[in-house]
């Protein structure tokens, strides 16, 4: 069957699926129609309501737009073009300006809400993902995912004042109800500072970074033990209860345990005065229930009367409703920890409301009566009546009515429905189609055997075979049989779904490399590093054997010869030493390194794990030269 035929059948299948999921589609008027842009999906990611509740601002990640809707009629008031891949936005305190974080442009767009025109575009850090404004109109704060920090900008000029160290993959910011503090979360676990030699076998650590808004300094880091991947935070109106949505991976035990207690716990972390005084450890509570998992909690909102917590579950296509009094009673009367207890959530989860594909940002109307959910991968907004706990309307974004094979592949990537009991999906380990910064014990070959580092899947075409042992010759094998067998332990993809998933994975683009300026030559240090990368003689003038040169194994545009080598990194718990050569694309972003994630940094690959020069001739390098080599690698 040709790919085109597959694509056509995929489209039909997807349309049928879409018809099944959409209960109230097509009511919104089409005002931005362009039939030629067959794949021009909006992909709504975040939502905001104007202070008077009359407008809904919709941040569209794929169409690079903010769509302004009438909150009553759902009609489009205006579409405002912003930067590339916008992922977060916020309103100024009086609501007169909208700040948009454009994650691939490294900019913030400022939109005047009266004119709905772009007022300014400001440069910020690497991959801005979220932005909040203080209450006094003095500063905005921007979470930069790649530079792992929060930039502090003048709210009127955009001039950057300072950078604050946040967690790794700094991504989501929330202003406390009193405006005094900002709470920042991050999507990748923090690297360990302790050198134990077993960093890849220790549980992940994350944090909620607390920033004093007036002083613009970090004042506290709330520890999130065993959590890797924290998303939105919400507060009760009185500011006494904070809630963070997060992922609690069980990467230290073989994934065979999917059947015996799941690979990820999908949790909420509770903190704040209702939980205890400052310094009290937060409480992590699971949302999952046996055969009813709340996969990948992302958006959070708390009812104004503090009766309910609403959580969008990005992988389970639903909104989980938590009863706060029941929850508080549960944590008061039950001794923790609760994460391993699949029966816990029955004590406080009172509803699970099906919504659209890949629900992300959520927001409540001021009276708490309506809950809006951005369904990113079916271009809809679900509106839930919070008294009825059900969807009462679905607003459809303007865009293609058909589901292309590529879109279906993306939906497949982000859903959890294919895994055993719907526990997790591809996007659990490949957050926003990247990676998760973890080393996993995947196969059922004993605890701690063949631990593998998770690799980036951007621009993956032409880097096969896959798996660290090079065992899978192509993506259909990697994502089909292997995934079904080892990961999902459940139903297989049908052929068309696998084809579409493959299509999507092969299409995942490479994020812009921030170490190499477009159209500019390498810096002096990078150029020196490039020469070292390609050298054939060592510092003593001795010829380096071909197989011991960086450029031999890491050849080609993507830095892989697509062959396997033994680079001397085999550990006693590894089944074999012959390893696939990983691609070097965006290598600077993907710590930890080596097949088992044992090298915390690029430097450690050579300073610790290459004693015999088997991983390239490097022991003759001076420290300056090693730094130059790494500067060059950061440009790949």
């Amino acid at each position: 069957m040709s790919l085109r035929t597959q694509a056509a059948i995929g489209s039909c299948t997807a349309l049928l699926l879409a018809g099944l999921f959409w209960t109230d589609m097509g009511r919104a008027p089409r005002v931005f129609a362009n039939e030629n842009r067959s794949e021009d999906y909006a992909s709504p990611r975040e939502l905001l309501l104007s202070p008077d509740g009359s407008r809904v601002y919709v941040l569209c990640e794929k169409s690079d737009e903010v769509r302004v809707l009438d909150a009553v009629t759902s009609s489009v008031i205006k579409v405002v073009a912003v930067g590339h891949v916008p992922r977060g936005f916020t309103l100024s305190a009086p609501g007169d300006r909208l700040f948009v974080a454009n994650s691939w442009d490294d900019t913030v767009t400022v939109i005047g809400t009266k004119t709905l025109e772009v007022m300014a575009t400001w440069p910020v850090g690497a991959e801005p993902t979220s932005v909040v404004a203080d209450r006094v109109g003095k500063r905005i704060f921007v979470a930069n995912r790649i530079s792992n920090d929060v930039a502090v900008l003048d709210a009127n000029t955009g001039a950057e004042e300072r950078r604050l160290q946040a967690g790794r993959g700094s991504s989501y910011l929330t202003l406390a109800p009193n405006g005094a503090q900002i709470f920042a979360t991050h999507v990748y676990p923090n690297p360990s500072s302790l050198r134990t030699g077993m960093e890849n076998r220790t549980a992940p650590e994350s944090e909620i970074t607390v920033i004093d808004t007036a002083r613009a300094t970090v004042v506290e880091r709330i520890p999130l033990h065993r959590i890797a991947g924290t998303f939105h935070v919400a507060f009760s109106a009185d500011g006494r209860l904070g809630v963070a949505a997060g992922l609690h991976p069980k990467n230290l035990v073989p994934l065979a345990h999917v059947e015996h207690g799941w690979a990820f716990a999908d949790t909420l972390t509770l903190f704040g005065a209702d939980i205890g005084v400052s310094g009290t450890l937060p409480i992590e509570i699971p949302l999952d229930e046996l055969e009813h998992y709340a996969s990948r909690p992302f958006g959070v909102a708390i009812a104004p009367d503090k009766s309910r917590i609403y959580v969008s579950d990005a992988g389970s296509e639903m909104v989980t409703v938590v009863d706060i009094p029941k929850l508080m009673n549960f944590v008061r009367t039950h001794k923790g920890p609760y994460v391993q207890d699949l029966s816990a959530s029955a004590s406080y989860v009172v509803a699970s409301i099906p919504v659209g594909q890949n629900p992300r940002g959520i927001t409540l109307s001021r009276d708490g009566r309506r809950l809006f959910i951005a369904n990113r991968l079916d271009d809809t907004i679900s509106v839930i009546d919070t008294h009825l706990n059900g969807v009462v309307s679905t607003i459809r974004m303007d865009g293609p009515k058909s589901i292309t094979p590529l879109r279906h592949g993306e939906q497949t990537f982000f859903t959890s429905r294919y895994s055993f009991q719907g526990q997790f999906g591809c996007a659990n380990c490949h957050i926003d189609s990247t990676f998760d910064g973890l080393a996993w014990d995947l196969e059922p070959d004993g605890f701690g055997r063949d631990v593998v580092d998770n690799r980036l899947i951007e621009d993956i075409r032409g880097t096969e075979p896959y798996k660290w042992n090079g065992g899978n010759p192509n993506i259909p094998t990697e994502c089909g049989v292997r995934t079904e067998k080892y990961f999902w332990r459940s139903q297989n993809y049908d052929d068309l779904t696998l084809a579409d998933l493959t299509l999507y994975i092969r299409s995942i683009p490479l994020r812009p490399n921030r170490s190499r300026e477009a159209y500019h030559a390498l810096t002096e240090a990078q150029e020196r590093g490039r020469v070292l990368f390609n050298r054939d003689r060592d510092n003593f003038g001795k010829l380096i054997p071909e197989g011991n040169r960086c450029s031999y194994c890491h050849s080609g545009l993507k830095g892989t010869s697509q062959k396997s080598f033994d680079v001397g990194t085999r550990k006693s718990n590894d089944n074999q030493g012959l390893l696939d050569t990983p691609q070097l694309t965006n290598i600077a972003l993907t710590a930890p390194y080596l097949h088992d994630g044992s090298a915390r940094t690029l430097e450690e690959i050579w300073t610790i794990y290459n004693p015999d020069d088997k991983h390239g001739r490097t022991n003759d390098l001076t420290k300056d030269q090693l730094n130059d080599l790494i500067e060059y690698l950061r440009t790949r």
């Binding site: 850090g125 530079s147 004042e161 300072r162 950078r163 604050l164 160290q165 923090n190 690297p191 360990s192 500072s193 302790l194 050198r195 944090e207 970074t209 607390v210 002083r215 300094t217 970090v218 004042v219 506290e220 880091r221 170490s515 240090a525 915390r600 940094t601 430097e603 450690e604 300073t607 610790i608 420290k623 300056d624 730094n627 790494i630 500067e631």
Partner: protein
């Protein structure tokens, strides 16, 4: 009658001496040791962070906050137990600690450590650290480094790209205009931020211990500390100290100044005219004209403060307390108060009006 006359003369003379004694700052010293919570009495460095005090000791990084000491050590992620230099990023509030085993960043309780194995840091022995904008300038036993905290880029400075004859950098003082390195055996290196060029200042006497050319250059090649403030470079060596205004050098030796010893561990410039000198024989303060020395007496250990005026007259001031030890390693200022790192404890000098 004659006796009374002599007594009156003596009293008058004493009063005159006292009246002509320059008014130098006086302190009531409160000393901290392991007995009241300090993790180690050997305190290499001290840093004032608002109401909080950081102390780099031989056994951990100590934080004094709300009258309680808290210690961070290797189990908390600190690069090494011996903390020998400290710097505060005034913008973010992050503390940078140079240790005998790497560089640590302490940010609201989280410690991230950089070593020669896991980062671009040139050497794990970090003698000095200084913050300039988004750059962290580092003095190590194998040359200088600069970490750009925004890009993560490391720049190394050594004999290959600077006029550094030795790579044992002992101190660094960085500002937006100039960066100075004190090099153990290789004078002072100057980096001009505008031109991106290096310059070097040496002792015109070479490595001789004899001072042949006073005030014609740096006092000695073994530089232990540099402090650049208000366009003035203050440099400390084991053989005297220097002040450089960009044109003229002025050297300080025990024989012609109020320095209690030429062996100076560190210097902290207050402004263009005033500076504190930490020596092996006490703490010295220079106000541009006069000197004051604070220490336990070298003879009987009793608290001692002496003042030397511009004419070289030395007088004593009655005091009831002194720094914990006369081997002074570091100082920082907290308003009018001082905090002093010594070989046997940390001292808080509470200013006396």
């Amino acid at each position: 009658m004659r006796k009374l006359f002599i007594l009156a003369i003596l009293l008058c003379a004493g009063t005159c001496v006292y009246a002509s004694q320059p008014r130098m700052p006086r302190f009531q010293f409160e000393n901290f040791t392991t007995a009241n919570g300090l993790p180690d009495n050997h305190v290499f460095a001290v840093l004032v962070d608002g109401d909080r005090i950081w102390a780099g000791t031989e056994n951990g990084l100590a934080l004094y906050e709300k009258h309680v000491w808290k210690t961070f050590n290797t189990q908390d992620g600190l690069a090494h137990r011996a903390v020998i230099s400290l710097a505060l990023d005034p913008r973010s509030g992050d503390l940078w600690a140079g240790t005998m085993g790497g560089l640590s960043r302490v940010s609201a309780g989280r410690i991230e450590s950089f070593t020669q194995l896991n980062s671009g840091l040139s050497n794990d022995v970090v003698y000095g650290v200084s913050i300039e904008g988004e750059n962290v300038w580092i003095a190590t036993a194998a040359g200088g480094c600069r970490l750009n905290t925004r890009t993560g880029h490391w720049s190394l400075y050594n004999e290959r790209n600077t006029p550094m004859a030795e790579i044992w950098t002992y101190a660094v003082s960085a500002t937006a205009t100039k960066v100075y390195y004190g090099v153990w055996g290789s004078g002072v290196l100057e980096f001009d931020q505008k031109t991106q060029r290096w310059d070097k200042y040496d002792d015109p006497d070479g490595e001789n211990e004899i001072v042949l050319f006073k005030d014609q250059g740096l006092i000695h090649e073994i530089v232990t500390s540099v402090s650049y403030v208000d366009g003035i470079l203050w440099a400390a060596t084991y053989f005297g100290d220097s002040r450089y205004d960009g044109r003229y050098w002025h050297n300080f030796l025990t024989k012609d100044s109020g320095l209690p010893s030429n062996f100076t561990n560190s210097v902290k410039g207050v402004d263009a005219t005033r500076a504190w000198f930490c020596t092996d024989k006490g703490l010295a303060y220079y106000d541009g004209v006069n000197w004051a020395v604070y220490r336990p007496s070298l003879i009987d250990g009793k608290p001692e403060m002496t003042v030397r005026d511009a004419s070289g007259n030395v007088s004593s001031v009655a005091v009831h307390s002194a720094p914990a030890h006369n081997y002074i390693l570091g100082i920082d200022l907290q308003g009018s108060d001082i905090w002093v790192a010594t070989a046997k404890g940390l001292s808080h000098g509470i200013h006396q009006p």
